[in-house]
């Protein structure tokens, strides 16, 4: 922290621990074990107490005389591995000895004070690499050239005669060397005539080889500090109960009932919630909160339920719609020997449910606020904190922590708003924690959607027309992003208006915006996570009804698209497509593009005569165009499969009397080890102009691949999620 007006117990600790790397294996088949070889480190507490270190080359890089290198990582680490991958990208240019590199979070406060020197700080939309690559390459290249210039000046030689590698600058003609640690002070003062060009992909020597994630060493011993782990002297604990019907208001609450309870509980009334702050433990706050019987003004929303929402969405399929894409004429006559298809697909609201429930710890003072939180966007959260607290952004010290799961949820800052509101009343540092039930029910949900497909296939069995209309909530509107002139929420139709199937001559994609009182937000692979289930299932319907192999059917539809076909073919090959299976077992395939990457999956499932479903295996092929850290990309693919599978098998938030029903993991079920399939991941890097993301693209194909596998095994078509709501008994 800057300054010394607060003294958090969180001490600055450095953990230097040997970690792992994998040898080679850039392309297909990287699931091999990494071998312990290299060292790198990060602090268990990811932010530094003092961001103005003594030996800075610049705001990003500190090199100490002992050659240790500190790289500041500007975005968030929530398990996606970017705290390792982004510094790897920087080090591709810097050419420091990776074993001596430590990493910490860049300060959002400094970013505000120094004209956004770190650029954007968000980790969302799978774009941490995509959105950082050019910037951090420039930063690394500039530092390297300044280190070289400093060496050249010391030797009185031309910089062009010098080269750098592994934290050492060498004068090539004489063989003289200087270590980065010896050059850093001089390099910090060097002004280059012009900034160096960054490497092109053919010049990369460091990235592309697996490096163990630098955060993992602190996640096996309790050392990693998450937002909820902040401990501030004198802090009280706060629990919160929001209006059970989202959007409703607090009418009244009798505070007297908590009098005399342990921890001197204080009731704090908020516009849409009531909170209790107590001394000693969060449990005391929660116990006191449980005794309150608040009255709420829930409005008309209190009379709504899920069945009604789905009826209304279905009815809206026949109302006015906005056109997202139109090509050819979908209404032309069905060709001779052709077939027509129509199906409606439905997907429910979902909660993000990160394992660490939302929380924030704040210390509000007259001219300064400190916030400890795990956020996906430290810069934007800083701006919001300033607004909540009535301070300037420069007075906000936001200590971003390891993030206990985000998936799109952790950039709203509603939990921080609560904590600040409580702090204003109790005038003490406050650690506010949402219960799991609050976290689930007051999520900003994945929107529900009802999507109707009408398809025509010709005499050859291939599609000639596809008409899609989706009724869905608008994340774009919720986020305050202006809609494009066509009035279509581009997230709501993501994946429907294309998915590579450009070979269909006549296509309509329409959108009907429809929201309920439940707020919606970005949820891992927004739009795609439900649209690809529906689209890839409907494609399967047309294929199987025409007696065509679903894989070959897609191949024909993707004719001429080499990158798509490479991914699809690899998935079919690695997933043993076409190999014989026992009765009751089937394979399904699905493909999508998402976050600039391509992903195809083959799922193998078994359905017992009693209707019990087991997903045996999922094969993932992902083309991210470029690969920084194969290990963490594979991990993201594995995790995405499980994340997608929880949604596919169990995921639904229902509404009754306006209240989200599911509140905890007993009713909002998650895949556990017993349901976890074997997952094999194969990576492709096809190059090209775009760097693809890795956190999201393996989510969308999963539910379609599984549903298509169920059809292959049983002949039953899954047209709504979750799958647990379907009776599969007697089908095998």
């Amino acid at each position: 922290m800057d300054g010394n007006r607060t003294t958090p117990i969180l001490t600055r600790r450095h953990f230097i621990v040997t970690a792992a790397t994998a040898a080679g294996g850039l392309m297909i088949g990287i699931s091999a074990m990494p071998h312990l070889a290299r060292a790198a480190s990060v602090m268990g507490q990811p932010w530094n107490d003092d961001t103005a270190a003594a030996h800075e080359i610049d705001a990003w890089i500190v090199i100490d005389p002992d050659d240790s290198v500190l790289i500041r990582y500007q975005r968030s680490e929530m398990g996606q591995g970017s705290m390792t991958a982004v510094p790897m990208m920087l080090n591709e240019e810097l050419q420091a000895d990776w074993s001596k590199v430590r990493i910490e979070y860049a300060s959002a406060n400094r970013n505000h004070r120094e004209k956004k020197i770190y650029g954007d700080q968000n980790s969302n939309s799978s774009r941490t690499i995509n959105g950082s690559q050019v910037l951090v390459q420039k930063v690394g290249a500039s530092a390297r050239e300044r280190l070289i210039a400093a060496a050249a000046a010391k030797w009185g030689v031309a910089a062009t005669e010098c080269a750098s590698a592994n934290s050492v600058v060498t004068h090539k003609p004489s063989g003289r060397t200087l270590r980065y640690g010896e050059l850093a002070a001089a390099a910090a003062t060097v002004k280059l005539d012009k900034e160096p060009a960054i490497k092109t992909p053919d010049q990369f020597t460091f990235i592309g080889k697996s490096q163990p994630r630098v955060d993992v060493v602190h996640k096996i011993n309790g050392a990693a500090k998450f937002g909820m782990d902040a401990q501030v002297p004198g802090m009280v604990y706060a629990a919160v109960l929001q209006c059970p019907v989202p959007g409703g208001k607090l009418k009244s609450v009798d505070e007297a009932v908590v009098a005399g309870m342990p921890g001197n509980p204080v009731v704090v009334k908020l516009a849409d919630a009531v909170a209790v702050a107590a001394e000693g433990t969060w449990w005391r706050a929660r116990q006191a909160l449980a005794r309150l019987q608040p009255e709420w003004d829930v409005g008309e929303a209190g009379n709504t339920d899920s069945a009604q929402f789905f009826r209304e969405y279905r009815a809206a399929l026949d109302g006015p719609a906005k056109t997202a894409r139109k090509q050819g004429d979908v209404d032309q006559a069905v060709p001779a020997g052709g077939k027509t298809f129509e199906a409606v697909y439905e997907t429910p609201y979902l909660s993000h449910s990160p394992m660490e429930p939302l929380n924030a710890t704040v210390h509000l003072q007259a001219d300064r606020i400190d916030v400890w939180v795990g956020t996906q966007d430290a810069y934007e959260a800083t701006e919001k904190v300033a607004k909540f607290a009535g301070l300037e952004a420069e007075q906000v010290y936001l200590h971003n922590s390891f993030v206990g799961g985000g998936f799109g949820r952790r950039d709203v800052s509603d939990e921080i708003a609560h904590a600040i509101a409580v702090a204003k009343v109790v005038k003490k540092p406050v650690k506010l924690i949402w219960s799991r039930e609050e976290d689930t029910r007051h999520d900003k949900m994945r929107p529900m959607a009802v999507t109707r497909f009408k398809g025509v296939t010709g005499a050859d069995g291939m599609p000639t027309a596809l008409s899609i209309r989706t009724v869905a909530g608008s994340i774009v509107k919720a986020a305050g992003i202006p809609l494009p002139p066509n009035g279509v929420d581009f997230v709501a139709v993501a994946g429907l208006a294309g998915n590579g199937y450009a070979s269909i001559p006549n296509v309509n994609v329409d959108y009907v915006m429809r929201d309920t009182h439940l707020p919606v937000w970005w949820w891992r692979a927004p739009g795609q996570n439900q649209n690809i289930f529906a689209l890839e299932s409907f494609i399967d319907e047309m294929a199987t009804a025409n007696g065509q192999d679903p894989y070959q059917f897609r191949r024909k539809m993707l004719a001429g698209k080499a990158d798509w076909l490479a991914v699809l073919d690899a998935a079919a090959e690695k997933g043993d497509w076409g190999k014989p299976l026992p009765k009751g077992t089937g394979r399904g395939i699905a493909i999508c593009d998402d976050a600039g990457s391509l992903c195809a999956q083959v799922a193998e499932v078994t359905v017992s005569p009693k209707g019990e479903l087991k997903v045996n295996r999922v094969t993932v092929v992902m083309d991210t165009h470029y690969i920084v850290n194969p290990l963490s990309i594979a991990e993201q693919a594995e995790g995405s499969v499980i994340f997608g599978l929880s949604a596919a098998l169990y995921g639904k938030i229902e509404v009754k009397n306006g209240v989200p029903v599911q509140g905890n993991f007993d009713t909002y079920r998650m895949v556990r080890l017993a349901q976890a399939p074997k997952i094999d991941v194969h990576l492709l890097a096809s190059g090209g102009p775009k760097w693809g993301g890795a956190g999201e693209p393996a989510v969308p194909p999963l539910s379609g691949a599984v549903a298509n596998a169920i059809f292959a095994a049983t002949g039953k078509r899954i047209r709504s999620l979750p799958i647990m709501d379907h009776d599969l008994s007697g089908s095998t």
């Binding site: 602190h218 050392a223 905890n664 976890a676």
Partner: protein, 151 residues
């Protein structure tokens, strides 16, 4: 006043007897490696060892624990080199990491009962939730830990 020995150190905990062990550990003892995930013993993020047994500490009131020996993730080994921790590191298991203290504590207790588990044993014996979906590596890490413990 309830006496708890946590990772070998005795603590006098002045909290109500209905306080779940989790909050005594986090808020009174001040060890934050044990995590809150659900509060109803569903997810296992809060798993610790009480007198050698794995327990979901969010649902164990301290009133019945006077004199108990509690081991948290911080006390599992002095150097983070317990075979289960070593296996977790080698397999690069954690992603966000929030559930992993509990996963590790559950795995340590499980391996005591099942020193050479099959996949099916693991699936039945480890029921903690990982929202990031690290199960593939977690399963491998348990096998690896079993091998390390044999060696």
């Amino acid at each position: 006043m309830i006496t708890l020995t946590v990772n070998g150190t005795q603590h006098q905990v002045d909290l109500e007897p209905d306080t779940p062990l989790l909050w005594a550990i986090r808020d009174a003892v001040g060890l934050t490696g044990t995590k809150f995930g659900c509060g109803i013993a569903q997810c296992g993020a809060c798993t610790v060892h009480v007198n050698g047994q794995a327990m979901r500490s969010c649902s164990v009131p301290i009133g019945g624990l006077d004199g108990a020996n509690v081991t948290t993730i911080e006390g599992l080994s002095p150097d983070s080199k317990h075979p289960v921790q070593a296996a977790w590191l080698a397999e690069d298991v954690p992603q966000c990491g929030w559930c992993q203290s509990g996963q590790i504590m559950a795995a340590v207790a499980f391996l005591k009962q099942n020193p050479a588990p099959t996949d099916a044993d693991i699936d039945a014996g480890i029921t903690n939730i990982c929202r990031c979906g690290t199960y593939e590596r977690l399963r491998r890490a348990i096998h690896r830990a079993a091998d390390l413990m044999k060696a």
